[in-house]
């Protein structure tokens, strides 16, 4: 019982522990550019109380949500098709390989040349960033679907598109959702970076403007806010994921997130 | 001598329930004896073998080897698993050499010994193959050689031929008997095949359905060396097989009636 409560609280304890380390570290270093955790946490309400900032942050989230959804709609079918057809896979694989190590947010300056600094450029960049891991994981998931399962489906009279939706999609779902989880964190990162580069609005803009103006409390408070968004979104997604794929073996309760 | 003394094993399942896998097992195995454990799947045969191997410690009771309580695995008891469990990152030779090297045998010496063993199990020429490049029967031969290489006094074999086709199985049974008749190791052999148990063993321990208890111990008094072709025609062999099969049918019905 005790152990169970403890394991529920463990992430919270970890947060508190990390904040405590921060607090101790800043007291020890005692420089102006590294405020204590308490000072930074205190600055959070003043940002969230500011109408302009909140609108900015919500704008960021809206762009992220739209781009994320669009990316899923595009990436999951493509990945599944790649997983089930060698032809499709070998057609797209090299293209994906050369685009993978390119930082999508770095395309921002070029895309801004074409599309301007508006929402569209930022959403396009997030879309690109999310698509790759989702394609990759859907591809892996679909590839691992057992041939026999599809044969039984065909024997029961399912057509090829039906097999794709009724068999491949659910069988690959755990892997697809892992990709989505990675994509979610990636969306957040691309969002912050693209706003940092475009410097017009959004959470990333507030963060880096504060850095340039030397408002250190705001810098660290924004770090806390963006960090909390990442952790919160990830936790929410994990809840959804474990509900959707309850039949699958208990996987990892920590995300395989990256960049 | 192996003594299993009032051993019981309880597993906690994920639903926080207690599951009685073995119930009060007592069994003595003489040095040099070939003893088979026979029973329906899930009756705790593997668990019993793991306890003797020292991989699992019993919830109650003790198991002893040479009078000393078993506290962990040791090179005096060599396991051969149904899943082969070969090291995928080592070649056939590397796998077989692992034990002797671990025992401190010099590299050149271990190499020579291992090559002899590999030849003995009929895999000459495959020394530098990786496990993935071998068939199931060949992998099982490597697993046997790997265990024999560190000269355990006791062989613990968990359905070693269960995953093999009938033809390969027969060949490996003959090979195992030849090896055993030559160096008379103590063998504890888990199987669910009645034929196999009678063909190989001095003693067959028949277990009941879960929770596993010993239902009966049958002494197989058939002459050695045994030859399969002769044995199959031998009425005594046939009688043992039929007798034990009846016993197992009874235990299944025990299991059905609560």
């Amino acid at each position: 019982m005790m152990a169970r409560v403890l394991s529920r609280l463990a992430p919270l304890l970890a947060c508190l522990g990390l904040l405590a380390i921060w607090q101790a570290g800043s007291l020890m270093l005692n420089t102006e550019s590294f405020p204590t955790a308490i000072e930074a946490v205190r600055a959070v309400p003043s940002i969230l109380g500011d109408r302009e900032s909140v609108i900015n942050i919500l704008d960021s989230l809206r762009r992220m949500a739209i781009a994320f959804a669009a990316a899923l709609l595009f990436a999951i079918p493509l990945g599944l098709m790649m997983g089930r057809s060698r032809l499709v896979a070998s057609f797209f694989n090299p293209l994906l390989m050369i685009t993978y190590p390119v930082p999508k947010a770095a395309l921002m300056p070029i895309i801004m040349l074409w599309l301007g600094v508006g929402d569209l450029a930022k959403m396009l960049v997030i879309f690109l960033g999310v698509s790759l891991p989702v394609i990759y994981h859907s591809f892996q998931g679909a590839k691992a679907v057992e041939e026999k399962m599809l044969w039984s489906g065909a024997a029961m009279g399912l057509s090829a598109p039906q097999r794709m939706i009724r068999i491949v999609l659910p069988a690959a779902l755990p892997e697809i959702l892992t990709g989505c989880r990675t994509g979610l964190v990636l969306a957040l990162i691309t969002m912050v970076t693209s706003e940092m580069i475009a410097r017009q609005s959004g959470a990333g803009n507030i963060l880096f403007n504060a850095l340039d103006m030397g408002q250190y409390d705001t810098v660290y408070a924004m770090i806390i806010i963006i960090g909390a968004m990442g952790i919160g979104l990830d936790a929410a997604f994990e809840k959804l994921r474990s509900r959707l794929v309850r039949w699958s073996e208990p996987g990892f309760d920590i995300p395989l997130s990256f960049a | 001598m192996i003594e299993i003394d009032h051993v019981s094993q309880i597993f906690r399942t994920s639903g926080r329930q207690a599951h009685l896998a073995l119930s009060d097992i007592s069994l003595t195995i003489e040095d040099g004896a070939f003893v088979s454990i026979l029973g329906p799947s899930g009756c705790g045969k593997s668990t019993l073998l793991y306890i003797v191997g020292g991989f699992v410690s019993p919830t109650e009771g003790v198991a002893r080897v040479k009078g000393r309580a078993i506290t962990g695995p040791g090179p005096d008891r060599g396991p051969v698993f149904q899943e082969f469990a070969l090291f995928p990152w080592k070649t056939v030779l590397g796998n077989v050499m692992y034990g002797p090297r671990q025992q401190g045998v010099k590299a050149a010496e271990a190499d020579a010994q291992s090559r002899r063993l590999i030849e003995m199990v009929g895999l000459k020429g495959f020394e530098n193959f990786y496990p993935k490049e071998l068939s199931g029967g060949m992998k099982q031969r490597v697993a046997l050689a790997r265990t024999l290489a560190y000269h355990p006094a006791v062989l613990l074999m968990d359905e070693p031929f269960g995953a093999l086709d009938a033809h390969t199985r027969t060949r490996l049974q003959n090979d195992l008997l030849n090896i055993w008749e030559r160096d008379r190791k103590t063998v504890l052999f888990v199987t669910h095949s009645v034929d196999e148990a009678v063909f190989l063993s001095d003693k067959v321990v028949v277990m009941t359905r879960a929770p596993g208890r010993i239902k009966q111990i049958v002494d197989i008094e058939l002459p050695r060396p045994r030859r399969r072709a002769e044995l199959l025609l031998d009425p005594r062999y046939q009688k043992y097989v039929v007798e034990i099969e009846r016993m197992i049918d009874d235990t299944s019905e025990d299991g059905l009636r609560p």
Partner: protein, 255 residues
């Protein structure tokens, strides 16, 4: 798979890349986009070839590679070490798990301002950011691989007389190598991405810095050059890692 099938697959894979380049060429040569927005591919690649010969450009690549390798190496050492420790020691596990759970989904770029303030604008802050981002995939796949090691491999080694404290290096680590290398591959891609971003945000040299400088002066050609370079670097490094992988995993069944 025979060689011919392999060749035809490679050819098939080149088609979309060739199409993309052709489309790019068409757009610029039929005048749909002015050269200032989309320079033709020939211009970009000849600029790249010309740049590759200059010591200036080589210097930029060298600083990017240095940061990338330093950060990636730190991530590999820490990730494999912590991952193995967490998989084999329950106390470490109890501490590491919740911390990783919190830190892994944290967008690390958001920490970059703090790193700049704490570690300065030099190599250290960028290397730390690269390491922080590449760490988690490596740590998690090490942990995953090490906790999935087949119990019977460990038992077989123990029965052969391997002492408990050697099991980690004789069985768990080699058995986890496939998974560790998968993590490293993801970590490497991330390192490429992150080092570039960090250099874009604040730097005086490196490929990312080149892009920002070019963007400020609207030199479209010079914006494409560093992007293509990082893509090629990623491709080469990935190829090297793939080579290492097929050497180390020669015994393992294909996955």
């Amino acid at each position: 798979m025979n060689a011919r099938a392999l060749t035809s697959e490679v050819l098939l894979g080149i088609i979309p890349i060739a199409l993309a380049v052709a489309l790019w060429q068409a757009i610029s040569s039929f005048g749909y986009a002015p050269v200032t927005l989309l320079p033709p591919p020939g211009l970009v690649f000849s600029r790249l070839a010309q740049q590759l010969g200059t010591s200036n450009f080589q210097h930029e690549i060298a600083s990017t590679l240095f940061r990338l390798f330093a950060g990636f190496s730190i991530a590999v050492i820490l990730g494999v070490g912590i991952g193995l420790a967490a998989a084999t020691n329950p106390v470490v596990n109890a501490v590491v798990r919740p911390i990783v759970r919190v830190l892994a989904p944290l967008p690390k770029v958001a920490l970059y301002p703090a790193l700049l303030l704490l570690l300065g604008f030099g190599h250290e802050s960028k290397i730390t950011l690269v390491a922080a981002d590449a760490l988690f995939p490596i740590l998690l796949s090490t942990y995953y691989g090490a906790s999935m090691v087949e119990q019977k491999l460990i038992w077989s080694a123990m029965a052969a007389g391997t002492p408990r404290r050697q099991i980690l290096f004789k069985v768990v680590l080699p058995a986890a190598v496939p998974s560790i290398l998968t993590g490293c591959r993801i970590g490497l891609v991330i390192s490429c991405i992150v080092v570039f971003l960090a250099e874009m945000i604040s730097s005086t040299d490196g490929l990312g810095h080149m892009l920002v400088t070019a963007a400020r002066t609207f030199q479209a050609v010079d914006m494409f050059v560093p992007l293509i370079t990082i893509s090629l670097l990623g491709l080469i490094l990935n190829g090297l890692l793939q080579g290492l992988r097929s050497y180390l995993l020669r015994g393992f069944p294909e996955v």
